[in-house]
Symmetry: C2
Subunit: 179 residues, 2 copies
């Protein structure tokens, strides 16, 4: 049986950081540097700390997030070896369920509805691996945790880290090598 991987959407498949920066620039005329967002929660990375919360409740926000570079090709590659599940903590923003579904349908149409999970707390997800950008999800995961680098998590180092989708492929390919 194939090993299973749970892959997060925001910050992993979807480049939400770039989307926050773009929307902030559009609305405030200020282009925030990624360097100013390092190690702080996403809302605190912007001069107006109420902006992020407003964005995530704006219709269309989740539907229009750009795909994380390399994600489509990497997920296709992983699906050859692993049973891949998209596991998104979508319940926190209930209005985004249909947007997230449409987004996946557009960018990852090769992922079956059988392999999509919208949840709250991820602690009951029992996959062999979990790729996520948040400790709140990785700290309680049952399989091997893989932290996908985001500005907000750069100082958290208690999980295996990957910086991009090439890193994910390299790490998981190494995992497959028999001991």
């Amino acid at each position: 049986m194939k090993k299973t991987i749970a892959i997060d959407m925001d910050g992993v498949l979807a480049d939400i950081e770039t989307h926050f920066i773009d929307w902030y620039e559009r609305d405030y005329g200020v282009k925030v540097n990624r360097e100013d967002m390092l190690g702080v929660l996403e809302p605190d990375g912007f001069p107006d700390k109420t902006a992020v919360k407003r964005f995530v409740y704006t219709p269309g926000f989740f539907r229009t997030i750009p795909v994380m570079p390399g994600a489509v090709e990497a997920v296709k590659k992983l699906m050859e070896t692993y049973e891949v599940y998209v596991v998104s903590a979508a319940m926190e923003f209930p209005q985004c369920l249909s947007e997230k579904q449409e987004w996946l349908q557009e960018h990852f149409p090769f992922i079956s509805w059988r392999n999509i999970v919208f949840c709250g707390d991820k602690s009951i997800i029992g996959t062999d691996y979990m790729i996520d950008d948040h400790c709140k999800n990785l700290d309680f995961c049952r399989g091997k945790a893989i932290m996908f680098t985001a500005a907000h998590n750069v100082y958290q180092n208690h999980h295996q880290r990957v910086d991009n989708w090439n890193d994910v492929l390299a790490f998981l390919t190494a995992e497959e090598v028999p001991a």
Copy 2:
């Protein structure tokens, strides 16, 4: 730490069987007997075998399913002892996501968004117990499977069976007794 239970919606929290019968009678003027639905897949329990599929794709169907008798009180009781998750295979009918969410908000407002999971395949759900009416979910569950009786499953006897919510409480209370 509390033990975890995954509870299905359709056929367990939501009385979808009664809803099918009611909608069929409304549209066809024929009240189907539950006895005629025993041991057959839901669509095959009705004279017009296309009706069920049409119902589940009709806006409002999932929003208006009656609550399974005793479910609200039993879930409240279980939450005293267990970490209760609602786990629904909602991805099969994507249009129903928001209806299911609103239904839960109306009938089970005491269940946090953190404890709601809309998924496809349930095999990655790692709870200690799973209460469901379908073998396709129970056969691959990682914890103890509990089959909630429905007309379609009456001849499947390889899982612990409960006939109603009183049975669920009785079974899980017995489980708590120290050996």
